[in-house]
Symmetry: C3
Subunit: 260 residues, 3 copies
């Protein structure tokens, strides 16, 4: 009962996702297809990388994860497949797997074996003719090694990490704004666990936040708090409100964290 | 071949729904996951309660229905599971199951057995770490009784019923506006079947509607009609137009029905 | 392992799609349900016809495709089923299957056998009570011939074809704008293959486009190009931009193609 996940910027109103699913089922009738999201902002590779990084490890071993955010479709950019932690990944070689390929033991191959493509291959829709088809074959039991030669020079996004700017100060950034307006930062909870025990201030937009909450419900109405998010990163949230709107920040905005 | 349905306010652009599905499949690889909707307005418990009420009974027996609209996540609010009419339900104890728990024979338990959680449990995403995981275990055959002790004091939404305000007059309310602008009222068709045979007027917004239609197609263009909706309630509709926009009403707006 | 696809204008925020899926699984527990799209503009039959035409053939044989864009629900319009190329189709008889029924060997029946309906049948939601239920029965192995009598007078949309307006000139139209703003025309690639080898100009909106690209990546920024799309039609695209917005055109807009 192989599982295949899909993460794309195709949206849900066109036929693209449906065509991909048809190809997958034609190659591997038993595949169980799960959407991570098709709502990635068009061409936003790092947004897709984050969505994938936040979900792949919850799936069972041998799941095949397909990611198609692919502004370079039809150009010389390569297609790659990866084997990481017992899961498989299929994507354009544009950095969209960056947050997965930092895992130890990651193995990467370029997908060159056209035997596993759907033909003829459209130059504008490799999601259907290459990625869905190859994922179906992997799910059906084709060996990872058959897809093409191993490579080490795959594309990597520079994943923003907080930078130390003082003995007890760091500059980080906003990784993601979610549907609720929660601001997901790039401060990993495990790296900044001490804020649970000591005073801090966190400057973002024009505001300084110095309170930590354990849950949304304990936040005073309308006030922004730092909270240990489900993403593994510190988040900034407002109970039943959009922290992003209240603070007026978006993805990439800088954040200063200072331990007092 | 267990079936699990999902109803949340998570939207489809973030990774939250994908992470829940991964957890479910990791617990119960054979589960077949069906989305009811993830488009519930954030925090709108009664909207989710309605979506669930309108769909659960069409599914096969033993289906596990997961509902996560959960503004109190991480607080003292309990998690509950219910067994109703041969189906199972898993949700926060905030009233979101109210329209299901009015069924006769409903049995409710608090979910306290942490054996069925995913650990560590995030304080902001019980959808992933508690509800999806528990649903997976139920689907995999774990007995309902093992989840925790039976309770009777679960939260109930006050579900608005029409109130009799005259010998032949009632005041009701708008339950739901759907994508097409149909206005779903809280007048149950079975309680007001007589409008098929006698004159009535129905005041809503600034308008009085006194015509009943059997189908959209028989409605004159641009005119609002009362119609026996697929929801089991009287609805107010405009053929190929939005009754809600034309009448300028939203959820909760009052409706006066008078039999003449 | 039967596959059923769904194409509707129900959107994803209401309970309608969930109710249909419940009915399908109650009739055919083993069905694997795949969404093509539920984002068809309300009542836009030709938009649904296009989405279906672009995806059905990628699915495995015996797939049952359900299409519900049904402004005439509850009226005298018939329900039909079709058998085309080894696939089955279930839809209202309003032309929504037009692009499929042009295939050779298409056989069509009216669905009159109420044994395969869910009862009682709502007059506003045949998607749930007729189409989903009939699709479930087909997927479960009910013979196509049992649904009702064969018909030949089913509704047909007039599918716009380019019209020859000069010895080397044609007037066509915009079939579809996709999420990325790509303009899908009704010029079939196979009919106009010569533009790969000779000069042309293509007038659309207030612009004349005379360049052909093989991929998005080779397009100069901000410039519109003609490209052989994955849809089988010539498309007009802008690399990382919306051709539809830049050219100010929508579905139905005329296009003049001239071979020089």
């Amino acid at each position: 009962m192989p599982v295949i996940t899909l993460t794309t910027d195709f949206g849900l109103s066109d036929h693209y996702v449906g065509a991909m699913k048809g190809v997958i089922l034609s190659v591997c009738l038993g595949a169980r297809i799960v959407d991570i999201t098709h709502g990635v902002t068009p061409y936003e590779i790092s947004e897709a990388a984050f969505a994938l990084a936040q979900s792949w490890r919850y799936f069972p071993p041998k799941t095949v994860h397909v990611v198609v955010v692919d502004p370079g479709v039809g150009s010389q950019r390569r297609a790659i497949a990866a084997s990481v932690g017992g899961h498989y990944f299929v994507a354009p070689d544009n950095g969209v797997l960056s947050m997965v390929l930092t895992e130890s033991g990651a193995r990467v191959r370029t997908i060159t074996n056209q035997k596993y493509f759907r033909h003829p291959v459209s130059q504008t829709f490799h999601g259907r003719d290459i990625f869905a088809s190859v994922a179906g074959h992997l799910a059906a039991g084709v060996s990872f090694a058959k897809l093409g030669p191993a490579v080490a020079d795959y594309a990597r996004l520079s994943i923003t990490q907080p930078v130390r700017t003082a003995r007890r100060g760091w500059t980080g950034a906003v990784l993601k704004i979610d549907r609720f307006g929660n601001i997901i930062t790039n401060f990993a909870i495990t790296d900044f666990a001490q804020i649970e025990k000591q005073s801090f201030d966190c400057s973002i937009g024009l505001r300084v936040i110095d309170r930590l909450a354990k849950s949304y419900a304990e936040m005073s109405t309308g006030e922004a708090y730092v909270i240990a998010g489900s993403s593994g990163f510190l988040e900034i949230s407002v109970n039943r409100g959009s922290a992003a709107k209240i603070l007026g920040v978006g993805v990439g905005a800088p954040i200063e964290l200072r331990l007092l």
